[in-house]
Symmetry: D2
Subunit: 136 residues, 4 copies
């Protein structure tokens, strides 16, 4: 059993393309919101606080893999089911399953890191145990 | 005679809505790019440099008024003609005329300020004479 | 007294720009959703039905005028208050006031038409009395 | 040797998020444009013509896999190098490599189909030999 958080989305007219279906980059827009929403709902403090406590400034995306199963259109209400199926040493997989009335619309596996600052940029930090516990 | 700068836009499939025409918020996306492009082409240094020299951190928008004259769709190439028809004491009007082969598609008058930092936020600075000269 | 409908918006990280505030074209994205939401909440049938009943295929925007009063950022919840302050013969004004905890963030007056098809494009129809009654 | 087409992108201020880097859904926006641009540059007629000739109404995305290698920010000019490394029976892989001055920023493999209409929706058509030849 792992912690799952649901993020609702109402599909609007402007989210759709001339084929009358959701233009696919919009799915990634919603998934990015669902990713951040997951941590907030799990009780992880905002990144400007974790920076002071743990050195964590955010969870940049390093890899994403999505399958488009069914189309969606305006008027639809979607629900993004988000959880972390796998914690690695310095990265984790966040899975997002988008459903409409239970029916699967799209599925996406993201690999993200907990990023900390270095002198010249950012680096992947070891998974903070406190955050892992809150999100599991 | 005043300085005019042209910013080209190729309309893509994903910029259009189920009515097969440009979804109007995308016009504002392009106009914001044209606004910044105007200053660069006029020779104004990037805002992180003007901040040191003049205290100017950017040109936030305070008011915008747009008229939609004709529709556009994917495959179209548009040209945004940008200039400053009016310099006021602490704000200026930037006008953007969007054309397709000379034909007017959309017209937009923006009121923007040159913003400087205060202790608690930002404020409108008097128009810097150097910038005004470059952009006229 | 006129009918007012409220559309809620949660501001997400990706809606904000490097200045950490809402990038202004996103306000128009939300206002377009609020505009359509207003008619649905007032009981107006979807446009593919009104096309058969009244010849109305939608409410294209012809003119918009917006004032940006305060900035907003991610984590904010906004509410768009939408109503029609003025019905003209062949167009109407739709007003959108965006608030955060009662405080005014942005205000926008749109001029829209009820569009019908012609042989070569669209035209503005006289305001349908049934729709006007539902929305007043 | 296979046909490669390059699509240029100028990164704008509004494409970037509060971390001052490109907000990742925008990469997919540009990749979708590069995908369509590829077929046009290869000499494939627009989809409304291929529909009459071949029954092909477009190339919907069924699966996408992207790796984010380096960040990009406003002021950058990117080039998306697009080609088809693999033709399958009823689908194909379209690869997009995004570079900045030769340096790799992002890489994306898309699985797309040539879609034709059925009574109730769409289906994957066998790869049209004429299109395959133009794009190889």
């Amino acid at each position: 059993m792992t912690r799952e958080v649901i993020y609702p989305v109402k599909v609007e007219f402007g989210d759709c393309d001339p084929a009358r279906i959701v233009w696919f980059p919009n799915f990634f827009r919603w998934i990015d919101a669902a990713s951040r929403h997951f941590f907030i709902e799990c009780g992880v403090p905002p990144w400007h606080e974790t920076e002071k406590l743990l050195g964590v400034i955010g969870t940049p995306l390093v890899d994403t893999h999505a399958s488009f199963v069914k189309t969606a259109s305006y008027g639809d209400t979607l629900h993004i089911h988000t959880f972390v199926p796998e914690w690695r040493t310095k990265s984790f997989v966040q899975r997002h399953i988008i459903r409409r009335d239970g029916e699967r619309i799209m599925e996406c596996d993201e690999v993200r890191i907990f990023a900390g600052r270095t002198e010249t940029g950012i680096k992947a930090l070891p998974i903070p145990e406190d955050i892992r516990r809150l999100c599991s």
